[in-house]
């Protein structure tokens, strides 16, 4: 076995082990603490869990790509809200009045296009100015959120289209529409990252930017494409979610960026870039959702949930460090 192989195996498997642990814990603890007499690992419950994972999960796949690339995007929550407003509001625009239910694909396309453009804009600024992605997207997070509030003040934007709701609530082969989108996006992003030249170059850039430049890889365009992809996915997440709920509050999507980043990091993506994959991220998303749901199941409130997730994130990072050091034959740092 090569040095470091054990640590790698542990790391890639760790998130799934953690999920099993969560399932066991909440099933047993639920027997004693839960208010309902339904088992935690109930099939319906698990299907619901997947569905509820979708909004964060879809964005997290894009964040994996962006973080592997050596960047970060803090504006995804705000992009999510803007796309939601575009989706719901455009369905009421008079010019689309004659379309009937054909307004649905039009509204979808509009929302997705807006998300993609906002993402590309982030990417363009990072590329052309060379300013750190953290700063650029911190700015656009505030800016985009400002636009959301300018649109309708504190009031929600609502529009219910029953065809759309039916579609969003449909179940195909047992899985909800949102779950299918999550699975599809995971597969697509896996393909992009593991199989395409663009994906591999993204890894190289995040790993050693100077080496990538020396090898003639055009760093800027690759980064911009990845920001466009995450913008698109933030919008897709909104489209999937609001097709069902039909009403968006101006605060919706806040803190999504943090949930998403937590899931990605839990899933084993290196914060400095160069390593990580969507399968791990998928595990991270599930682990977080399990924790939220499980803690709710045994009667904990939201603030407890946040506290526990925060502690686990830190614990995981420490463990990860320890494993890495073991891999290097005990060399102290």
């Amino acid at each position: 076995m090569q040095p470091g192989a054990l640590s790698k195996a542990l790391k890639s498997g760790a998130i799934w082990g953690f999920i099993v642990l969560e399932l066991a814990f909440f099933s047993i603890a639920g027997e004693f603490l839960s208010l309902s007499d339904k088992a935690f690992m109930d099939w319906e419950n698990m299907l619901l869990l997947l569905k509820q994972s979708a909004p964060i999960g879809i964005i997290a796949m894009g964040m994996t790509l962006v973080m592997v690339n050596g960047n970060i995007d803090l504006s995804v929550g705000a992009t999510f809200a803007i796309a939601a407003i575009v989706l719901l509001d455009s369905m009421t625009w008079p010019i689309f009045a004659g379309l009937g239910d054909w307004v649905i694909p039009v509204a979808w396309l509009l929302a997705l296009a807006v998300g993609t453009l906002l993402g590309a804009l982030n990417g363009l600024i990072v590329w052309k100015t060379g300013v750190d992605a953290f700063i650029v997207t911190l700015g656009s997070m505030l800016g985009f959120r400002g636009i959301v509030f300018m649109f309708n003040g504190e009031n929600p934007t609502s529009h219910l289209n029953w065809t759309l709701v039916d579609f969003a609530e449909a179940q195909f082969l047992g899985l909800h529409t949102a779950t299918w989108f999550l699975l599809g996006v995971t597969l697509a992003l896996w393909f992009v990252m593991a199989r395409t030249v663009h994906g591999r170059n993204a890894y190289a850039i995040g790993d050693n930017r100077e080496a990538a430049v020396n090898a003639g890889i055009r760093v800027g365009p690759h980064m911009m494409i990845n920001f466009a992809i995450i913008g698109f996915l933030a919008a897709l997440s909104a489209v999937v979610f609001y097709s069902e709920s039909g009403s968006v509050n101006p605060n919706d999507g806040q803190l999504y960026e943090l949930w998403v980043i937590t899931a990605v990091v839990l899933g084993g993506t290196k914060i400095t870039g160069g390593a990580g994959n969507v399968i791990g991220t998928f595990g991270g998303v599930i682990a977080i959702q399990l924790l939220r749901k499980g803690l709710g199941h045994i009667g904990a409130d939201t603030s407890t949930v946040n506290l526990v997730i925060g502690l686990i994130l830190i614990a995981v990072l420490i463990l990860d460090r320890q494993l890495n050091i073991k891999g290097k034959e005990e060399l102290k740092v």
């Binding site: 090569q2 040095p3 470091g4 199989r195 395409t196 030249v197 663009h198 591999r200 170059n201 890894y203 190289a204 790993d207 050693n208 100077e210 080496a211 990538a212 430049v213 020396n214 090898a215 003639g216 890889i217 290196k270 160069g274 390593a275 034959e329 005990e330 060399l331 102290k332």
Partner: protein
Amino acid sequence: MTDPVLRLENIVKTFPGVRALDGVSFSVMPGEVHALMGENGAGKSTLMKVLGGIHQPDGGAIVMGDTPVVMAGPLEAKAKGIVFIHQELSLAEELSVAENIYLGELPRKSFGRVDWARLAERTNSILKKLNVGFDARTRVGDLSIANQQMVEIARALTVDAKAVIFDEPTASLTDAEKVVLFDVIADLKASGVGIIYISHRMEEIFKITDRISILRDGQYQGTVNTAETTEEAVTQMMIGRKLDLSRNASHHELGNVALQVRGLSCGKLYSDVSFEVRRGEVLGFYGLVGAGRTEIAETLFGLRDPSSGQILLDGEEVRISSPADAIARGISLVPEDRKGQGLVLGMNCRDNMTLPQVDDLKAGPFMAEGAEVAIFDQYRDKLDIRTPGWKQRVGNLSGGNQQKIVIGKWLSMHPNVLIVDEPTRGIDVGSKSEIHKLLRDLAAQGYAVIVISSEMPEVLHVSDRIVAMYSGRIMRTFTSEEVTEDSLIQAISGLGGDKAA
């Protein structure tokens, strides 16, 4: 007469505060190995980066065939048949060997997919030529530094090269790997490729090159035929004066034993290691890469815990728990990997040099800037560090000057025991002899000095005694009077040599 593969005409390149290249011209013929020599900071790497499309020249022209060409970027240079093997490793550690070799030009198939089959096939055929012990799918970060260097070298074989640039390729290679590299170069040469070879190692230059071009302070000094010149002549062109190679023979009194090690072992890395070093003495450690020398140094510096054995400082047994502990006890280590362990590349020269003593250089709550600058100036002069000023980012210095900053940093700590691991890797002959002299001087002043080196002339030159290591064990300890090159080689290859200290 055949036409040159490429010709550089009056290349000029300035960086803020530095005229790195000042009208350099030279040409490379097909099938020739052309050495480029010069002191640290003379502009060799910069010239090659201009040729490789990484820097754009401020003046002058690159001519290939009959036409001047513009190298707009690295890919364009590659497309024109110029392959650049960089001085500092330029690899993505998390990616596989194959992806690194074909970085920037992974073979594609439909839908922008990577053609893994073709990639593996091509890579494996290259790796076979290089006769290395890893395959296309190995993660580069899992390879030793030497093997990573072989990955860089493999890049030379990926395209139909017209010219291949090797910027100090042997700095971290073992002798066996050097043989492979020289075979590769011979093959390239035989197929009519022009090779530019940068190195500070004279014996290599005289062994494999046909012509030598020399730079000094960014200025072209001329080109000579290797067969018709001597090391002295080349050195003089490089540094503009004659070099004093005599060993500082001052025979001073040896002091008491500063550091003693008894039966020290550390897992599989090394075992049952015993030696002592006195004040006023230079103890050399010689052996092949991987013999365990660096690991011993790391143990003494508190970076590794030994599994058994004793360390005594001034006769007292100590446990060195961390580098901070080691520094407090007067042990300093100049590490072998300057980028990873010795320098903060983004910080300026002065701050790098005074980094370990920030706590001592305070004036009230503030940094004593004046004192810091004074320290920097002192060691810049002592080590002849070439930089426009202390404000320069260390990352912008030439490789050799970076190494001098690391040495200066630890010297400024006035340690009792100074351990230097490969102190002159990538350092030009002039500064090399300066550093050797400095190590001797330090011993004369009463420091105990341990020098780890893979260069035989270096250990022979600086050491009072030499410890020969093979595969984690001390094979023999020589005094400078009794040592011969042959006995040393035998000892470090595990042949002969009585296993006594």
